[in-house]
Amino acid sequence: MSVASHYSYWITVLLMTAGLYIVIARGNLVKKLIGLAIFQTSVYLLYIAPGKLIGGTAPIVAEAFKLYSNPLPHVLILTAIVVGVATLALGLAITVRVRETYGSIEEDEILAADRDDPDGA
Amino acid sequence: MSAAQLIAAALLVPAAGAGLLALAGRRPNLREAVTLVAAALLFACVVALAPPVLAGARPQLFALELLPGIALGFRVEPLGMLFALVASGLWIVNSLYSIGYMRANGEPHQTRFYACFALALAATMGIAFAANLLTLFLFYEMLTLVTWPLVTHHGDDEARAGGRVYLGLLLGTSIVLLLPAIIATWAYAGTLEFAPGGILRDAGLSGPALGGLLALYVFGIGKAALMPVHRWLPAAMVAPTPVSALLHAVAVVKAGVFAVLKVILYVFGVEALAGVRASDWLPAVAGFTVIAASIVALHADNLKRRLAYSTVSQLSYVVLSASLLVPLSAAAAALHIAAHALGKITLFFAAGAIYTVTGKTEVSQLDGVGRRMPWTMGAFAVGALSLIGIPPAAGFLSKWLMFQGAAAAGHWPALVVLGASTLLNAAYFLPIVHAAFLRAPPAGEPGHGEAPWTMVAALTATAAATLALPFAAAVPLALARATAGL
């Protein structure tokens, strides 16, 4: 048990912070969504990695299989992935509509357009 | 009708009246009739409650449970009875006066005016008959909100500014000071019901804590206009004069000192306060207000402003008397609620009549008005005499009791204040009477006659009542003495 053996957690933290950083630091609407997706991916890893036990197998009820890895995180993360996909799709749909309305997907340009023409339809 | 039903009627009649006259808005005569009928009915209900109360009964009505353990409830006791009699009786007279004033001045939004007035009276009855602090607080706030449209009646910038000071000070003091005081009382005493002898006796509060709580109450009840929370009263003078007459001479301001008196007598209890000397600062604050307000009144040229500061001063008479903590001064305070109301409403009626006929608002313009408007200025003179405290006007009775009470308490600063303010009252009222009757009107002024008959009738009635009170004082005196437990 060393710091290095917890590498899955390190990757989790890396993905989490990278994702959040992209969301905050990038003004492009699509890039923000990509950052969000990366952030959500870290959560998948957070759940799944601890579920795998060393020497654990799939939960098959038979003589040869004694130690089971935990199948529940997989189920939970499948749900979470679906939620993430739906969120991404929704975000991209809004981005398409923003592009159609404002002609740009850069946040600062959109905010400037709103400032210059606050009552635009 | 049973006593409980009478209490309910006293609240519902003005409220229903407000609704009915709003519907009758298109037909002014019908609308005015609804007001007068509602006022008469209300007075009848209140008068019907008087005999049992004088005999010692305390009729009560439980409406609903507002919070666990605290009810919206009513109980009629002598002080509330006195207040209700004064307010409801004067509503009739004031309605008559309003009809004359509003029509003569061509005021707009008259339906809204009469409807808010009726609601204000309903709220006043709620305050008068409240059985506990929460019920009192509910109707107290309702009174503030319902009178705001009356204060801002003219809708111009002046009205808006006056309305802001009015609402800001009254809501500010009640929400920031009075409400925490009530909740603290609930937390420490476990009850909010008014009880003779007070409810904070066994609450385990130290002297300074009681003093602090009293301060929260006294300054939180902004309608009592103790300095420095008095500024709403002169600000409210932007309202039409009938509003100033009934509300700011009678209902709203008297609700304030009524609440202060109730708090001192039935929440703290005279013995509890006297024992820990928690209220020793109150006579000083009240005394200061009496003198300071009189001095401001002396220098005010606007007649309504002078009357407003005179009211501030007279209200503090009540608080001063109550804070002396002897039964005689408590009775004097209660009686002054009635006496001042009669005198002040007369003065405001006269001021409004003068404005309606001549358009004059300043004291310096009033030379010779008395010769052309003898009834109006005669009534003004009577009101002034009452406020100065000269027999046989009503004010003499309450002032005499106040002097006696101060002497009984051995509180010589209070005696000095009472004496000095009597002189000040004379100083700012008598010159007006003198100028009106004994000086010639300015040359080249167009002639004018008396005010419309409705207004003259109203002010004559209140002036007559002011003179008659010392002779017909049995009921008010009995109620005042019962309040003090004498």
């Binding site: 939620v83 809004i94 309305t101 339809a121 | 919070l67 603290a184």
Partner: protein, 493 residues
């Protein structure tokens, strides 16, 4: 049979209605289904509430899988209270939406609105009723995704960016919540809230548990719009369609408060959260900041809808202030204000929806003299505004009473003073409307005389009447809040 499965039907009926509406497509039928579903949900919530009041918590095992292995739906005093609020508001907003949505959305999108409305309702109800931490996340995202779209349907183009911003922040919040739940799952091995509560005391001091608390707090606070994580709210409420603003303002943040209460007191337990950690102090500090800054910002807004949105942030501060007091009266205040603010803001936004219909927008220049052209709407706003201030006789007063009582009983006089002093700011911004509507003559931008349609005015006034009713007859709200508070402080969910 229905009664037996009522907890499940509470959620599945709105959930199933959504694809049904998408299939049907016709606007009026869509509205009809949505309204019927909302009314059914309200009836179900009332039935469940009476069941719980009479016989204690109701536990329903989804799919007959017994907890803690299966997903459990658990209705106790707190969740029943919130269910009634959410479904009640939905039942009032749905009839309102008929005219409002028809005016604000293009004809071919109306059925989609109602489908999303049902999804959002299902999500909110599911969040309240479920006893499983991950199931809560699923319903959280169902309602959130639906609400992002509902907001994006607003007329103004800024609704799109508002929805996008809400999407980003809301997803971060939900993901933080999931991280917290993941840590809790790692430590306790269970996702059932009751089971977690039983296993956590032994693990109370460990770092993953503390980290989980932190993540869940931040995640839920984003959804709650607790200062300073409230930045999405003003834009989202200001630009969304009127029915959406009313619905979300009255329900979404309230359910998030419910989640916070459930986790703090029901899962982690008062001993850890209040006794060992400085959570109450943090919550108090943030709440005070929320109340003061949001109220002051509300004062300067040029648009009534934005003003009310900032006022919502401030009022949520009052709710979390009650939570932060963590005493019996403090929690009673929090739960009671959850309800009272829900109906007050619901009423206000519905009435503003009526103004939006007649005037296009609710900027203050269009409100001059509104008392004359739309008297019933103006009067309704005044009465609901009084409830916002906390005038006795209105629902808002009851919340203020318990907040101040809680502060005084904890001997925190400065806190009591703060609560009442900030009410004066509310007086100021409510009176801005009163002066504009009643003291100014109708201006050039004021709409023509004529009230909003009855279909919009009646639901709005129903909520206004509720504000007054629950200010006088407090038996349901105070008793419900008291039981919820005692339940939370007593320990087990």
């Amino acid at each position: 049979m229905i009664l037996e499965h009522l907890p499940a039907l509470q959620v599945t009926v709105p959930l199933a209605a959504a694809p049904l509406i998408v299939l049907v497509r016709q606007s009026t039928v869509a509205w009809g289904v949505a309204t019927a579903v909302s009314w059914f949900a309200f009836a179900a919530a009332l039935l469940l509430a009476t069941q719980v009041a009479g016989g204690g918590p109701v536990s329903y095992a989804l799919g007959s899988w017994p907890p803690p292995w299966g997903i459990e739906y658990r209705v106790d005093a707190l969740s029943a209270f919130v269910l009634v609020l959410v479904s009640g508001v939905a039942a009032v907003v749905a009839p309102f939406a008929w005219r409002s949505v028809a005016a604000e959305l293009p004809r071919d999108r109306v059925y989609l609105f109602y489908a999303l409305y049902c999804l959002c309702l299902a999500g909110l109800l599911g969040m309240t009723i479920t006893g499983d931490a991950f199931n809560l996340f699923v319903f959280m995202e169902i309602s959130s995704l639906a609400s992002y779209v509902l907001i994006a349907l607003g007329r103004h183009r800024r609704a799109l960016l508002a929805a996008y911003q809400y999407l980003i922040l809301g997803t971060i919040g939900a993901t933080f919540y999931v991280i917290g739940v993941g840590l809790l799952y790692l430590m306790t091995g269970t996702l059932n809230l009751a089971d977690m509560a039983a296993r956590l005391p032994a693990l109370a001091g460990t770092r993953p548990v503390l980290a989980a608390l932190a993540f869940i707090t931040v995640g839920v606070s984003l959804k709650l719009a607790l200062f300073p994580l409230h930045l999405w709210l003003p834009n989202a409420y200001a630009y969304a369609p009127s029915a959406v603003t009313a619905f979300l303002a009255a329900t979404a943040t309230k359910v998030s408060v419910y989640i916070l209460l459930r986790f703090y007191f029901g899962v982690f337990g008062a001993r850890l959260v209040v006794g060992e950690l400085p959570m109450p102090e943090i919550l108090l500090a943030l709440s005070i900041l929320a109340i003061v800054t949001a109220s002051l910002v509300a004062l300067w807004q040029a648009d009534l809808k934005r003003l009310l949105a900032y006022s919502s942030v401030a009022q949520i501060g009052y709710i979390t202030l009650g939570v932060g007091m963590a005493s019996r009266d403090g929690l009673t205040a929090a739960v009671v204000h959850l309800f009272n603010h829900g109906i007050t803001k619901g009423a206000l936004f519905l009435l503003v929806g009526g103004i939006a219909l007649r005037a296009g927008r609710a900027g203050f220049e269009r409100l001059q003299g509104l008392g004359q052209v739309m008297p019933l709407t103006s009067l309704g706003i005044v009465l609901a505004g009084l409830s916002l201030i906390g005038v006795p006789g209105t629902a808002g007063f009851i919340s203020k009473w318990y907040l101040v009582l809680g502060a005084i009983e904890a001997e925190r006089w400065w806190l009591a003073a703060l609560v009442v002093a900030t009410s004066l700011i509310a007086v100021a911004y409510v009176w801005r409307f009163v002066e504009a509507a009643y003291l100014a003559p109708p201006g050039a931008a004021t709409p023509q005389p004529g009230e909003a349609p009855r279909a919009m005015l009646v639901p709005a006034w129903l909520l206004v009447a509720a504000c007054i009713w629950f200010g006088l007859d407090t038996s349901f709200t105070v008793r419900g809040a008291r039981s919820a508070a005692l339940l939370l402080l007593g320990g087990a969910p």
